[in-house]
């Protein structure tokens, strides 16, 4: 049987239905007799709710119910910490614009909308805390009085070596302050779905979710129902990027169905999706980096302050990641890191592509580029002297596991973009002539790395079931993979089908992947941490092997069975147990596996307007093994898109907790015209021996180096460092003005 499918760019499993417009997304579901719900959102970022009068709304013909906090059995939820109220009742506080006062359920969406306007709410406005650095101060107004006497949600410390000695050895020390802003996930499909009671009496939700099984835990807690009294079905998801790891509509739909016992549909408009859901954490980052004259890093001192917004979400886990990656993929013998995440009245911040590994590269890579400049050394060469290798001791004191591909990744990116290696030195390419006399060209390089799978002792596991149907000769006619992995568009179902086909030695076309329905598929963890190919792929591969054994047994024993089921629950700790931070030193073995990326950006900067145009990006990533190269390239394109938006165009503006960029006409994700004219994707395959076929992860690493590479290219072009994202034309212009 020669059915090699791993490594092939086979068509995605659902591509044909997607190009036909047949694949159903949550807003495409309608049920007999369904009602429509709309939310009454908080009007203040911080206030006490004095009085809620729903009677004018209830009086409107067509209104079926107006739900308030009194209707919620257990009024709390949250993915890591249950600090979020489902609905805010009288006497309680709203802490951001995404808090909800009531849900109106009506015969039509229009009536629901109108009724929302009629709900009268009296507030007592409270002081708004919108800067985490202010919120950290002892006299700052408290966001969560019940959670202690500080807004600081978490402080992580890393103490490695002796930074005094380290800085004493340094010939050059670079010190800078960086800021990265909120980022809107901006998935194209706004939150939507249907809640109903299924034929077995379960409260059921059809919605886009990155981790349906975790939603179940939260919903069952909120409704005080047993776990098997709730159910979630995940159809096509219109993008997620971390933004659907928390619940933003699932629990609302569940509550509606629970209360009115009829199907209820709810669709957020774009404004609700931007104003009232979570974002990527803004980071304030203070860096001091020391190196010797010959380019060896000696010490780093880092302070990270992240804005957690009004509720914890996964802020602590995001911060934990950031701290562990704070020094970049480099060997740094002496380090001191203090990382804080702090409650404010800003938008809740949560998982977003990189999960805390996206912000630090803006700082650590710009530090490297500044160091290179100060040392008069080529930036590729400086990195080559310090990059991690197999067994290198990482920032958290652990040896790096086998498969560290960052050097090879950078080498390939550099060579592709025209860098030359001569006599042990790296030499930057000639950049050609700018397209106009008032434009300057520049090139910049950056690296990034990130964990694959859950970290710090969290049990990362996926359950997989593989059902085989075979004929009398034993030939497999069909394989069905059941795994609770949400397909968010990245292609997890396709990759898992490819892994299954390869493991089973059958044609890819014979593999089906079951729809994610918590009543059918086992928990596979979330579609995050670039983990499904690695963790769930391992689970599927082993479930396939299990199924093959059973088939063999059935054939050998001539039982006449034509159907077998293989099951496997794969735990990441089986190959690599991780550990939490030591509270004092921060030493630990944080992550199971890692993925690596390096990118080079060629830009032109308009010296008169400050505008940056990215001409080309060379994006290299070490994915261990590309299960589907076409999909890897797709991830690179998307990663560069988000990285470019981060660097140049995306500005989420909040003032005193109020959102000023509420629409796509105000929050600007890159269009085709903004993207680099060319993107060259370079797939590097340094295998991780613990991954399926050597695979690591892909999805997040592709976005990490883009912004710092662009910042470095801007500097190369016009000589200014932009340490505060995004590098808008005005910022670049100002920097040039103050320089001249």
């Amino acid at each position: 049987m020669s059915n090699k499918v791993v490594g092939e760019s086979v068509p995605k499993i659902d591509a044909a239905t997607k190009v036909r417009g047949q694949r159903k997304f949550p807003q495409d579901f309608n049920m007999e007799g369904q009602l429509y719900a709309k939310v009454v959102w908080s009007e203040y970022p911080h206030a006490r709710v004095l009085k809620i009068d729903i009677s004018p709304a209830e009086a409107l013909p067509g209104v079926v119910a107006v739900l308030t906090s009194k209707d919620v059995p257990v009024n709390e939820y949250g993915i890591n910490i249950m600090d979020q109220p489902m609905l805010v009742g009288e006497g309680k506080k709203v802490r951001w614009l995404g808090d909800r006062i009531a849900i109106v359920i009506a015969e039509s969406e229009k009536i629901a909308q109108e009724a929302c306007q009629r709900v009268r709410v009296e507030y007592e406005p409270l002081p708004v805390v919108s800067d985490p650095r202010e919120a950290m101060k002892p006299d700052a107004p408290l966001i969560h009085e019940e959670r202690g006497d500080s807004n600081i949600l978490k402080h992580i410390k890393i103490r490695k070596g002796d930074i005094e000695k380290g800085f004493a050895k340094a010939d050059v020390v670079i010190e800078s302050y960086y800021f990265t802003p909120h980022v809107e996930h901006a998935y194209m499909q706004p939150e939507a779905g249907v809640g109903y009671i299924d034929e077995q009496g379960r409260v059921t939700v059809i919605a886009a979710a990155q981790w349906s099984h975790d939603d179940l835990h939260q919903i069952s807690h909120m409704l005080d129902l047993p776990l098997d009294g709730v159910r979630e079905i995940v159809p096509a998801i219109g993008g997620a990027f971390g933004g659907r790891e928390d619940m933003y509509i699932q629990h609302l739909l569940a509550l509606c169905a629970y209360c009115v016992r009829r199907p209820v549909k709810m669709v957020f408009d774009r404004e609700e999706s931007i104003r009232n859901t979570g974002k990527r954490h803004p980071y304030y980052m203070k860096y001091r980096t020391g190196a010797t004259r010959d380019g060896k890093l000696t010490a780093v001192e880092i302070e990270l302050i992240s804005d957690a917004g009004a509720y914890a979400s996964t802020s602590v886990a995001v911060l934990s990641n950031s701290a562990s990656f704070a020094a970049g993929p480099y060997i740094v013998p002496n380090a001191k890191v203090d990382a804080y995440t702090v409650y404010t009245n800003n938008a809740v911040t949560m998982a977003m592509r990189g999960f805390g590994s996206t912000q630090p590269p803006v700082a650590y890579e710009t530090q490297m580029n500044k160091l290179a400049e100060a040392l008069g050394m080529d930036p590729v060469e400086l990195r080559m002297k310090n990059l991690l290798e197999d067994g290198s001791i990482a920032l958290t004191g652990n040896p790096m596991p086998k498969g560290v591909g960052i050097k090879e990744t950078l080498r390939q990116a550099a060579l592709a973009s025209g860098w030359r290696e001569e006599g042990g030195h790296w030499i930057k390419p000639d950049l050609g002539t700018p397209s106009a006399p008032y434009r300057r060209r520049g090139i910049g390089v950056a690296c990034g790395y990130k964990n694959v799978g859950y970290s710090f002792g969290f049990d990362d596991k996926t359950g997989a079931v593989v059902e085989l149907a075979f004929d009398e000769s034993g030939e497999i006619v069909r394989a069905l993979v059941k795994v609770g992995a949400s397909e968010v568009g990245e292609g997890s179902h396709t990759a898992l089908a490819q892994i299954a086909a390869e493991a089973l030695g059958i044609d890819y076309a014979k593999v089906r992947v079951a729809l994610v329905d918590t009543s059918v598929v086992p928990d596979a963890g979330s579609s995050s941490a670039s983990r499904h190919v690695y963790i769930s792929g391992n689970a599927v591969m082993r479930a396939c092997q299990e199924a093959l054994h059973k088939r063999e047994a059935a054939l050998r024993d001539e039982t006449g069975e034509k159907h077998v089921v293989g099951k496997y629950e794969y735990h990441g700790r089986s190959v690599r147990p991780t550990t939490p931070y030591d509270p004092e030193t921060g030493m630990c073995d944080p992550h199971i596996s890692y993925g690596y990326a390096a990118q080079i950006a060629l830009v032109e900067v308009d010296v008169e307007t400050g505008e940056t145009e990215v001409l080309e990006v060379w994006a290299a990533q070490d994915v261990g093994k590309a299960i589907n190269p076409g999909m890897v390239k797709g991830q690179a394109g998307g990663g560069v898109h988000m990285g470019l938006g981060y660097a140049l165009t995306e500005e989420f503006i909040q003032k005193e907790g109020l959102v000023k960029t509420r629409r796509f006409s105000e929050y600007h994700i890159p269009t085709t015209a903004d993207m680099p004219h060319e993107l060259e994707t370079i797939i590097v395959e340094v295998p991780d021996p613990t991954g399926p076929f050597g695979a690591k992860g892909v999805g997040e690493m592709t976005t990490l180096p883009t912004a710092p590479a662009i910042l470095s290219a801007i500097h190369d072009a016009v000589g200014v460092w932009i340490d505060n994202l995004p590098a808008t034309a005005e910022k670049v212009w100002r920097a040039m003005q103050s320089k001249s």
């Binding site: 591509a15 190009v19 194209m188 499909q189 394109g637 998307g638 990663g639 796509f664």
Partner: protein
């Protein structure tokens, strides 16, 4: 309630609409054509793109009654029976769709472009889909798919 009569995907359709209805809602809610997506609701992303008399329009801000007597083509109108049309097939072959939410609008914009200009340059392709936002792909494989569709159509000697 006014009646809207249009040629929808080659078939004459007559349906009662509210005067304030927008074409996207009529297509999705009244005619069940869910391939037309709503994303921004303000004509800023192109997810709802359909053809009206051959021109790409944002149906989420297009008054339904404007389509009176016009020829409307949605994503459901492309391809025949079970066969994908050349653009759709190229999108599949170039791994263009990721989440797929923008894809019907992208395919329709690509069709509008190629119907008018069968041999676009890469720049013209980029311009042709500059009214369609995508958050997943960075557009490269979508552009590649449109180029592939052009090549195939040229080999075949024109659009189907």
């Amino acid at each position: 309630m006014p009646t809207l009569k249009m040629i929808l995907n080659g078939q004459e359709v007559t349906i009662d609409v509210e005067p304030g209805d927008l074409l996207a809602n009529v297509l999705r809610d009244k005619l069940g054509l869910i391939g037309t997506k709503i994303s921004c609701g303000e004509g800023e992303c192109g997810a709802c793109t359909v053809l009206v008399d051959g021109r790409a329009v944002d149906s989420c801000i297009y008054p339904a009654l404007k389509a009176q007597g016009r020829e409307v083509i949605t994503i459901e109108g492309l391809g025949q029976d079970n066969r994908l049309d050349a653009i759709q097939q190229a999108f599949v072959d170039r791994t263009a769709p990721q989440c797929g939410y923008c894809i019907p609008g992208m395919v329709i914009s690509a069709k509008a472009l190629l119907d008018e200009n069968p041999h676009p340059t890469r720049k013209e392709i980029k311009e042709g889909i500059s009214g369609n936002l995508c958050r997943c792909t960075g557009y490269y494989q979508i552009i590649g798919a449109i180029e592939l569709a052009c090549e195939r159509l040229a080999e075949r000697g024109g659009p189907e």
